[in-house]
């Protein structure tokens, strides 16, 4: 019969420092790969909407004409599938979890006016080119 097999371990634990950290006083450390939340380089985004279609829980929405990218961080499951799908690699998964809240809310990112203007110009050029091509086709 073996009684008190655990006693040496239990006693030595009395004199060891705790393995937990004093969390609010000492900040939590996340490893580099930690899947915390999604960040976007909004000016690199081409509003293709692949991320919105890939998302398993439908938390992302993209508005091409307004140049916005919206995410409901409370719905996001941080799977990272949008990061994999993004063709411009402007989405990144960074450490740091969403803080809890009483109500769900979404965050909207707006492209800067310069990028919007450049895009509008590009669209106009493309439209002009298409119109010219159409006109040329009609002439023939």
């Amino acid at each position: 019969m073996a009684i008190l097999k655990f006693a040496p371990e239990a006693l030595s634990n009395l004199f060891k420092p705790p393995v937990t950290t004093a969390y609010p006083a000492k900040p939590a450390e996340y490893p580099e790969r930690s899947r915390g939340h999604i960040e976007i380089e909004i000016d690199d985004c081409i509003s293709c909407g692949l991320c919105a279609r890939a998302c398993p829980c439908g938390t992302i929405s993209v508005d091409r004409s307004a140049g916005t990218w919206t995410i409901d961080r409370y719905d996001c499951i941080a799977c990272g599938f949008c990061v994999v799908k993004c063709p411009k690699k402007c989405l990144t998964m960074v450490p740091g979890y969403q803080t809890p809240g009483g109500k769900k809310s979404s965050v909207t990112y707006q492209k800067s006016p310069e990028v919007m203007a450049a895009e509008a110009k590009k669209r106009e050029e493309a439209a002009a080119k298409a119109a010219a091509a159409k006109a040329a086709a009609a002439k023939e």
Binding site: A2, P31, R33, R35, C79, F81
Partner: protein
């Protein structure tokens, strides 16, 4: 004959980690029959195939369960790879093996803790979970999530492990082995532990066969069944033998699971020693799946069964996950017959029930 009465047990009970309800027909203090009912947390993940395409399902299936998450993601990907008929790169196979064994270790350590908690040994419970935390840290370091890995994709894995990561894993494995040896003494020799486990909940080998039990539950009754022998991932390249015990009681189940942690440590060491250095991690797949496949895997709790049927559309027609607990519930009810009422909580824990998995 004593007086018969029925005691409702669960779904909320201090000893139960997950919601299962049992109606126990008892005679005096002995259980005569146990009638289970589940379904308190049915989420209908299988019917989500109608709304999510086959790529998104990887992440849905993975979230079936928090403890065996990696196995589910991998099982689904293996099934789809069989439908697409692709072979994944060798390095991806080894990475999957390492991650799978890490998840097995953390599942078994969690279970050992719950078992200790089940017979009221709180100190031992904390000790197990302290070791488990090291495994969780490794998982977070390599994949970014503590329990949900999200690294599987159809055709391979998304993330690589650097050689520094592998060095840290090897170092931590040595530490865990040391710490496990100290608590192993308590689990195998301590008087209080033995008196709760030895000879309690006998499950004879013939019954295991009849009821189709799987995993450590079957192995503890002398049935050497281990789906890793089917040779998926990198297991054919690794040397291991299933841990089997002939005792058939709760002690044997504890023994099998504790020894499997050592086995996992050994498999991880072998895998890291043999891992090929290539850069390719994914074999790309094209188009939509068409066909059906049956895949079996050895989850920490036993044989898990995956079935998918596709018909050339992005959405699958049917996706089926049969988890090990589903196969073991019939065994549990048989085992509970003719036991003391006070042992019921502990015996439910010994099959390692994962009800959230079971209900999908």
């Amino acid at each position: 004959m004593g007086k018969r009465s029925v005691i409702p047990y669960g779904p909320q009970h201090p000893v139960l980690p997950e919601p299962i309800h049992l109606d126990l027909v008892i005679e005096d203090e002995r259980v005569m029959e146990a009638i289970p009912s589940i379904g308190f947390i049915h989420r209908g993940l299988e019917s989500l195939v109608e709304k999510r395409d086959f790529n998104q399902m990887t992440y849905v299936v993975e979230r079936t369960c928090g403890i065996c998450s990696f196995g589910h993601g991998m099982g689904y990907c293996e099934t789809m790879e069989r439908i697409f008929d692709v072979e994944i790169p060798d390095r991806a196979k080894f990475l999957r093996t390492i991650w799978f064994e890490l998840s097995r270790m953390h599942s078994h350590l969690l279970w050992l803790g719950l078992l200790a908690d089940g017979f009221g040994f709180e100190n031992l419970f904390y000790q197990c979970w302290r070791i488990r935390e090291k495994v969780l840290d490794l998982q977070e370091m390599t994949c970014g999530g503590r329990v949900i890995f999200s690294v599987n994709t159809i055709g391979g894995v998304l993330k690589d492990m650097t050689s520094e990561h592998m060095q840290i894993i090897l170092k931590t494995m040595d530490e865990i082995e040391q710490e496990l040896k100290t608590i192993q003494k308590t689990f195998f020799e301590d008087y209080t532990v033995l008196s709760r486990l030895k000879g309690v909940g006998i499950m004879p080998k013939e019954k295991i066969n009849e009821l189709g039990c799987v995993g450590p539950f079957a192995r503890a009754s002398g049935v050497a069944v281990d789906m890793r022998k089917l040779g998926y991932a990198a297991y054919p390249m690794i040397d291991f033998e299933p841990v089997v015990s002939e005792d058939c009681d709760s002690y044997a189940r504890c023994y099998v699971r504790l020894m499997e942690i050592y086995q996992s440590i050994d498999i991880i060491r072998q895998a890291i020693a043999k891992i090929p250095s290539e850069t390719d991690l994914v074999t790309p797949v094209k188009g939509n799946p068409n066909g059906e496949a049956f895949v079996r895997l050895e989850q920490p709790r036993g044989e898990a069964f995956y079935y998918a049927k596709a018909s050339g559309k992005p959405n699958l027609e049917r996706m089926r996950v049969r988890t090990p607990t589903f196969a073991n519930i019939a065994g549990l009810c048989e085992m509970l017959k003719n036991t003391e009422l006070s042992d019921v909580g502990l015996l439910i824990i010994t099959i390692d029930p994962c009800i959230s998995c079971t209900e999908r």
